[in-house]
C-alpha cells in the first residue's frame, strides 16, 4: 500500500453539525446544519477513488459518486453539483432523505475497516452550494422530439422521470392533485428534515428545464388516463404513490384527536398548520401524543408532536428497536429530542369523553415469537398484560396502501390483490401499452430514492417506446 493511501484513511469521517436537541425540539428549522467548505473538502479527500467503484452500484439512480466527490476534493463545488445532476434530478433532497447507510455507503470500501465516506452529506453539500450560490446550471436539452408524455403525480418518481425525459427532448407535463408539486417531499417529510424551500427549488429547476407542472389536477377525476391519450399524450407514467392511510380498525379509532399520519403530517407540512393562525389550517396540539408505528413516518410524526408543544410524545411499537423500519439516524434524532419509546406495545382500543374526544388508549404488552413472512420475529400478545395510557392525540403511522383513484378509472390496467399496479421491474411497463408505472403505487410504501430509481428505469423505457413509435408511424 502506498503512503498516500494510508494518509487518506487517517482523516476521520467528518461529522455534520446539528442543532442542539433541546433547542430544535421546539422549532421546525432543519436539524443537521450541513458541512462547511473545509469539512466537505476533508471528507471528499477520504474517498480513495476506487478504480472499480462499488458505491455506484449501491445507488438506484447510478450517481457517479467518485466523480462528484473528486470535484469536491478539488474545490470545484459547482462542477460537483453539475455531475450529480447528470443522473439525479433531486440531489439536495437525496442528500437529506436517502438511506445511504443501506445503499452507497453500505458498500463503500472504506466501511470494511472503518467509517465509509459520508456520500450523502457530500451530495447535500454540493447541491446546497449550487443552490445558495444562485449559479444554477441548466444543462442543454436535446432538440424537441415532438412527443408528449404525461406524468401523473409530482412526487419523487414523477419528478425524476420528468427531468430525464425533458432532457431527451420530449414534451413533458406533470399532473399533481395537490396544490403544490413534490408529493411526499412536500406533504409527508417535515420541514426539520427537508426544508420545503429546497423542494421548491428542485421543482423550479425542472420547470427551467422545460417541464410543465399542472397542480390541482386529480387524474382519475378531472380527466382519465384515456382522456390524456385523447388529448395527444403519447405515453403516460403513473407515479401516484401509496397515498391511502391504513388504520387498525380498533374501537375508538374515529374519535376526534385520532389522526392518520398522512393527515397529521399533511396538515403540518403541506398546510403549515404549525404556523396557525398565520396559516389557516388548524392542527390539534396535544399534550400526550401517542404515535403508533416504528417507521420513518412514525418518527416524523412523533418529532412533529414535540415541536407542536407535546409534553409527552410516545412511539408505540409492537416489536423492538431492532425490528424498527425507521432509519437509525431518525430513531436517534427522536430519542435525543425526548421522544419516549414504548416498545413491545400494541394499542387495542381508544377511549373517549362525552364529546367523542380520545382520552385514553388501552394497550397490550407483546413479546417476540417466531419469524413471520417478513423475516422479523412476530409480536405475540402477553396474556393479561392490558394497561391504559392517558393520551389526547393519537397518530396512526402503520403504513399506507394504494389509492385507487387513477387505477380504478383506467380500464385494462392490471393490479395485484392489494390494488398496486402491476409493472415490469426493469421498465415500468404495465399491462396497457403506453402506460408505465413506478414508485410506491407499484412496490407499496418504500423510499424516495427507490421511487426515483423506478422513475429512472421507466424514463429509458418510455424514451425507447416513443422513438420506436415514431419509426412505426413513418
Amino acid at each position: 500500500m502506498t503512503d498516500k493511501k494510508k494518509k487518506k484513511e487517517k482523516i476521520p469521517r467528518q461529522s455534520m453539525p446539528e442543532q442542539d436537541p433541546k433547542v430544535r425540539a421546539k422549532n421546525f428549522d432543519e436539524v443537521p446544519l450541513g458541512y462547511t467548505e473545509e469539512q466537505a473538502v476533508l471528507e471528499a479527500k477520504r474517498c480513495i477513488q476506487c478504480k472499480k467503484p462499488t458505491c455506484i452500484a449501491g445507488c438506484p439512480v447510478d450517481v457517479d459518486i467518485p466523480g462528484f466527490i473528486k470535484l469536491i476534493a478539488e474545490e470545484d463545488f459547482i462542477g460537483a453539483a453539475y455531475k450529480l445532476k447528470e443522473t439525479n434530478a433531486l440531489p439536495a433532497v437525496c442528500g437529506r432523505v436517502c438511506p445511504q447507510e443501506d445503499q452507497c455507503e453500505k458498500v463503500c470500501i472504506l466501511g470494511k475497516k472503518g467509517d465509509p465516506v459520508a456520500i450523502g452529506r457530500l451530495e447535500r453539500f454540493a447541491a446546497d452550494y449550487e443552490r445558495e450560490s444562485g449559479n444554477i446550471v441548466i444543462p442543454e436539452v436535446a432538440p424537441p422530439t415532438g412527443k408528449k408524455v404525461a406524468m401523473v403525480g409530482a412526487g419523487p418518481a414523477g419528478l425524476t422521470i420528468a427531468g430525464d425525459l425533458v432532457k431527451l427532448g420530449h414534451d413533458v407535463t406533470v399532473f399533481e392533485a395537490l396544490h403544490k408539486a413534490g408529493g411526499v417531499l412536500i406533504y409527508g417529510i417535515p420541514e426539520f428534515r427537508l426544508p420545503k424551500s429546497i423542494v421548491d427549488a428542485e421543482v423550479d429547476y425542472l420547470k427551467k428545464l422545460g417541464v410543465k407542472i399542472v397542480v390541482n389536477a386529480a387524474i382519475g377525476r378531472v380527466k382519465t388516463v384515456d382522456e390524456l391519450f385523447e388529448e395527444g399524450f403519447d405515453a403516460v407514467f403513473l407515479g401516484v404513490g401509496a397515498g391511502a392511510p391504513v388504520f387498525m380498525n380498533i374501537p375508538g379509532e374515529n374519535f376526534s384527536g385520532v389522526y392518520s399520519a398522512n393527515e397529521y403530517l399533511t396538515r403540518s407540512n403541506l398546510m403549515k398548520a404549525y404556523r396557525f393562525p398565520e396559516y389557516d389550517t388548524p392542527i390539534v396540539r396535544g399534550k400526550n401524543v401517542a404515535v403508533i408505528g416504528g417507521g420513518n413516518v412514525a418518527m416524523d410524526s412523533a418529532r412533529t408532536a414535540l415541536r407542536l408543544g407535546a409534553e409527552n410524545s410516545y412511539i408505540i411499537y409492537r416489536r423492538t428497536e431492532v425490528e424498527m423500519p425507521a432509519r437509525i439516524e431518525e430513531v436517534h434524532h427522536a430519542q435525543e429530542e425526548g421522544v419516549q419509546f414504548k416498545l413491545l406495545t400494541n394499542p387495542i382500543e381508544y377511549m373517549g369523553d362525552e364529546n367523542d374526544w380520545v382520552t385514553e388508549m388501552k394497550c397490550l404488552r407483546m413479546e417476540l415469537g417466531e419469524p413471520d413472512e417478513s423475516g422479523r420475529r412476530r409480536p405475540v400478545p402477553i396474556k393479561d398484560s392490558e394497561f391504559v395510557m392517558d393520551v389526547d392525540t393519537v397518530v396512526v403511522a402503520i403504513g399506507a396502501m394504494a389509492n385507487p383513484l387513477v387505477a380504478s378509472t383506467t380500464p385494462g390496467l392490471e393490479m395485484n390483490r392489494w390494488g398496486y399496479i402491476v409493472a415490469k421491474d426493469e421498465t415500468g411497463e404495465t399491462s396497457r401499452k403506453g402506460i408505465y408505472a413506478g414508485g410506491d403505487i407499484v412496490t407499496g410504501s418504500a423510499t424516495v430514492i427507490l421511487a426515483m430509481g423506478a422513475g429512472r428505469k421507466a424514463a429509458w423505457a418510455i424514451d425507447e417506446y416513443l422513438r420506436f413509435k415514431e419509426q412505426g408511424t413513418r
Binding site: 378531472v222 380527466k223 399533511t266 403549515k272 389557516d280 367523542d356 389509492n403 383513484l405
Partner: protein
C-alpha cells in the same frame, strides 16, 4: 388561479359565486364537489358544485359565511381569483328513474340539493322538493327550484312563509297523505338529516344523505373525513359524500365536525383584529 365571474348574496350570509373552472365544468355530475383555497396560506374547504356552464367554463358554488375561510371567500369580489379549485371530487349521485323522489333541502343545504333535484328531474323522476329555512328571509333558490319542479313544498320554522314547521313534519305529512315515495334525498344540517332519516326509517324508504365532514386533501389520502356507515369506516371524499342515511352514525359526524371549534374561533378573532387594525 380561478377567476370569480359573478358574486352575489342570496340572503344575509349566504353567497352565490360563479368561478372559472373549465375542466371541472365539463366533467362534473350532480353530487360532486370541489375543494378550494382562497389564498396560499388558506385552508382547503370542500363545497358542492351547485351548477355548471360548460360553454362558459364556469361552476357555481353557494356557501354560508361561518368561519374565517368562508369570510375570506365572501370578501372576494368579481374579477378576483381563487388560489385553487380542485375537482370534481367524490362519487356522483347514483342517478336513475326511481319513480317518485322527494328531495329535502334545509338552509344552505338547499344549494347542495339543487343539482340533485335537477338531475332527478332530468332522469324522469317525479320530483317533490321540500325546502326549508328558519325564516323567509334566508330561504334560497326558491324560484330556481320551482322552475324545474311543479310540486315544490316550502316550509319555514317560524311560519313566515309556506308551511309553518320543520321539513321533518312536512315529510311526515307527505307520507301520511299516502304519497308513494320511492326515495328520499336529505341534504342540510346534520341534525336535520338525522331526524329525516328517523322519519323515513319505519317506512323502509331509502334515504340518501350528503355528508359534509372536515376534509384536507379530499382525494382519499388523509382520512380526515372518515365517517361510520353501517359500522364500517368510510371516507366521505372518495366513498361519498352521499351515503345510506339509515346506516350513518350522525353522532360521530357531529362530534368530529367540532374538532377544531376552538381553533376556528381563534382564527376568526385573529382575522377580525387584523381587519380592525388595518
Amino acid at each position: 388561479m380561478n377567476k370569480i365571474t359573478e358574486k352575489g348574496y342570496l340572503s344575509e350570509n349566504v353567497v352565490r359565486m360563479v368561478v372559472e373552472a373549465p375542466d371541472v365544468a365539463r366533467k362534473r355530475k350532480a353530487g360532486q364537489f370541489v375543494v378550494l383555497m382562497t389564498g396560499e396560506k388558506g385552508e382547503r374547504i370542500p363545497l358542492t358544485i351547485v351548477d355548471s356552464d360548460e360553454e362558459k367554463g364556469t361552476i357555481t358554488i353557494i356557501f354560508q359565511v361561518v368561519g374565517k375561510t368562508t369570510t375570506l371567500l365572501a370578501d372576494m369580489s368579481e374579477g378576483e381569483s381563487l388560489f385553487t379549485v380542485l375537482g370534481p371530487l367524490g362519487q356522483p349521485t347514483e342517478m336513475k328513474n326511481f319513480g317518485t323522489a322527494v328531495c329535502v333541502g334545509g338552509g344552505v343545504g338547499i344549494g347542495v340539493a339543487y343539482p340533485v333535484i335537477k338531475a332527478l328531474a332530468e332522469a324522469g323522476n317525479k320530483v317533490i322538493p321540500i325546502i326549508g329555512a328558519r325564516t323567509k328571509d334566508i330561504l334560497i333558490l326558491e324560484n330556481e327550484i320551482r322552475s324545474i319542479s311543479n310540486e315544490l313544498i316550502v316550509a319555514t320554522d317560524d311560519g313566515s312563509y309556506g308551511v309553518h314547521g320543520f321539513v321533518t313534519n312536512v315529510l311526515q305529512n307527505l307520507i301520511d297523505s299516502g304519497e308513494q315515495i320511492d326515495i328520499v334525498f336529505a341534504i342540510g344540517p346534520v341534525p336535520m338529516m338525522k331526524f329525516l332519516c328517523e322519519v323515513t326509517k319505519p317506512y323502509g324508504i331509502k334515504t340518501i344523505v350528503s355528508l359534509n365532514p372536515i376534509m384536507v386533501d379530499a382525494t382519499g389520502m388523509c382520512g380526515a373525513c372518515r365517517v361510520s356507515v353501517g359500522g364500517e369506516t368510510k371516507f366521505a371524499c372518495v366513498d361519498g359524500p352521499e351515503f345510506d342515511g339509515h346506516k350513518v352514525d350522525f353522532g360521530l359526524l357531529m362530534s368530529r365536525l367540532k374538532t377544531y371549534n376552538d381553533q376556528e374561533k381563534t382564527a376568526m378573532e385573529d382575522y377580525r383584529c387584523k381587519c380592525n387594525d388595518g
